[in-house]
């Protein structure tokens, strides 16, 4: 059951990616993707079968334990796996979400949980997360912990992250997740995924519905 959902989600993601890759250069010559035309490159995808939130207890940016399931229960929740030493996709993704969140009424902002779970816990200490998220939205929650735990939690929700590798020249190669996971406050399950190409506008139009548990 879980397996099928994951495969379906992965396929949707792959299809979206493929379509994006084709972009405007697609000459229509050979389009095997045409058979999944229903799955056009939607920036916010509704999952056919929702996924459980990851059962993780990590450390928040104040250094306190954070039981993800307990702390987010009954709250609309956005989860992204990334790292702060990331110049491109991670800050862009979080900034896009921040723009959308800022436009929600205050009560809804307070109800929403936005979690940034580091994929590079060795460098992303609670302090580093706090500083970085402070530049985006200080109400977002940064979470760190043991990489093995974080990777297992990510895997449970179909997000692949690799342990940061230190190369011979000292470079650290880290990975971030490809999608933002979005859980409904109604059943505490992940119903939607924000793809990497989702813009601030996409999140701005989708969030008011998602936080009520409605499809965008």
């Amino acid at each position: 059951m879980r397996g099928k959902t994951l495969i379906a989600a992965a396929l949707t993601a792959a299809a979206a990616l493929t379509l994006t890759a084709c972009g405007p250069d697609d000459d229509g010559g050979d389009k095997p993707a045409a058979s999944v035309s229903g799955a056009t490159a939607k920036p916010i995808v509704t999952l056919d079968k929702p996924i459980e939130k990851p059962d993780l207890t990590l450390t928040d940016s104040d250094g306190k334990p954070y039981d993800l399931l307990a702390k987010t229960k009954g709250h609309p929740t956005l989860i992204y796996f990334g790292y702060t030493n990331c110049p491109d996709v991670c800050p862009l993704t979080m900034a896009n979400i921040a723009v959308a969140v800022k436009q929600l009424p205050k009560a809804e902002q307070d109800d929403l949980r936005v979690l940034f779970i580091t994929s590079d816990p060795e460098r992303d200490t609670p302090q580093a997360l706090k500083k970085w998220l402070g530049g985006i939205n200080k109400n977002f929650t940064g979470l760190t912990g043991k990489f093995a735990d974080i990777q297992r939690g990510a895997r449970d929700v179909n997000i692949g992250i690799d342990k940061p590798v230190v190369k011979k020249n000292g470079d650290v190669v880290s990975t971030h997740g490809a999608q933002v996971l979005m859980a409904s406050p109604k059943d505490d399950r992940i119903h939607w995924m924000g793809m990497q190409e989702a813009t601030a506008d996409n999140y701005t139009s989708a969030l008011p519905k998602l936080i009520k548990g409605q499809n965008p």
Binding site: A98, V99, T175
Partner: protein, 191 residues
């Protein structure tokens, strides 16, 4: 049949390259390697830097168009940082590379989600509306100086930065300016 078509296409492509390579140089059109031998003709466009989150790091994107022979972007220097590097993205990981190819009669495109220029340990935190000076160094062509505009953190070139207005409202109130001076740079990646 198919193979013939392919061969014909390939030939056409080679011819096109050959012709483009000749471009007014007056040399023989039969010299197929002309494009590879000729000097690169570079032009930079579409440069921007998303406003960085902290003064720890920033990224920048641009396109180097080339109407001449192949070249390589070998390094970037800037007034913003002494630690500027070139990165390529593989899957969801990024890796430091020593150079990026600028193909003959083509373009090197640095874009969000792909290749980018990375700046570590910024001397200041650039804000939207400001400019950052970059000097691009190539294997063959002369260096090019670019004034890179700093855009909103959510800027997307494809949409002309549709969300600039919203981004101005971004929450900067929580920024820990006090911590900037004694930041721990020891944990830097890509050093």
């Amino acid at each position: 049949m198919n193979r013939r078509t392919l061969t014909a296409t390939a030939l056409a492509a080679v011819c096109a390259l050959g012709l483009a390579g000749c471009g007014g140089s007056g040399s023989s059109a039969s010299d197929k390697s002309d494009a590879a031998k000729s000097a690169p003709q570079l032009k930079v466009s579409g440069a921007y830097m998303p406003q960085p989150v902290t003064d720890k790091m920033a990224g920048a994107f641009l396109t180097v168009e080339n109407t001449g022979g192949a070249d390589k972007l070998t390094s970037v220097t800037s007034d913003l940082s002494d630690d500027v590097s070139l990165h390529t993205t593989k899957g969801n990981a990024m890796e430091h590379v020593s150079s990026l190819p600028v193909p003959a009669d083509g373009a090197l495109k640095l874009a969000s989600g792909g290749d980018h220029i990375m700046f570590m340990g910024l001397k200041r935190k650039p804000a939207e509306g400001q400019k950052v000076t970059l000097e691009l160094h190539f294997a063959k062509a002369d260096a090019i100086t670019v004034q890179v505009p700093v855009k909103s953190a959510t800027y997307r070139p494809a949409t002309g930065g549709g969300h600039d207005a919203g981004a101005k409202d971004m929450d900067h109130s929580g920024m820990d300016h006090s911590g900037m001076d004694h930041m721990d740079h020891s944990g830097h990646a890509h050093k």
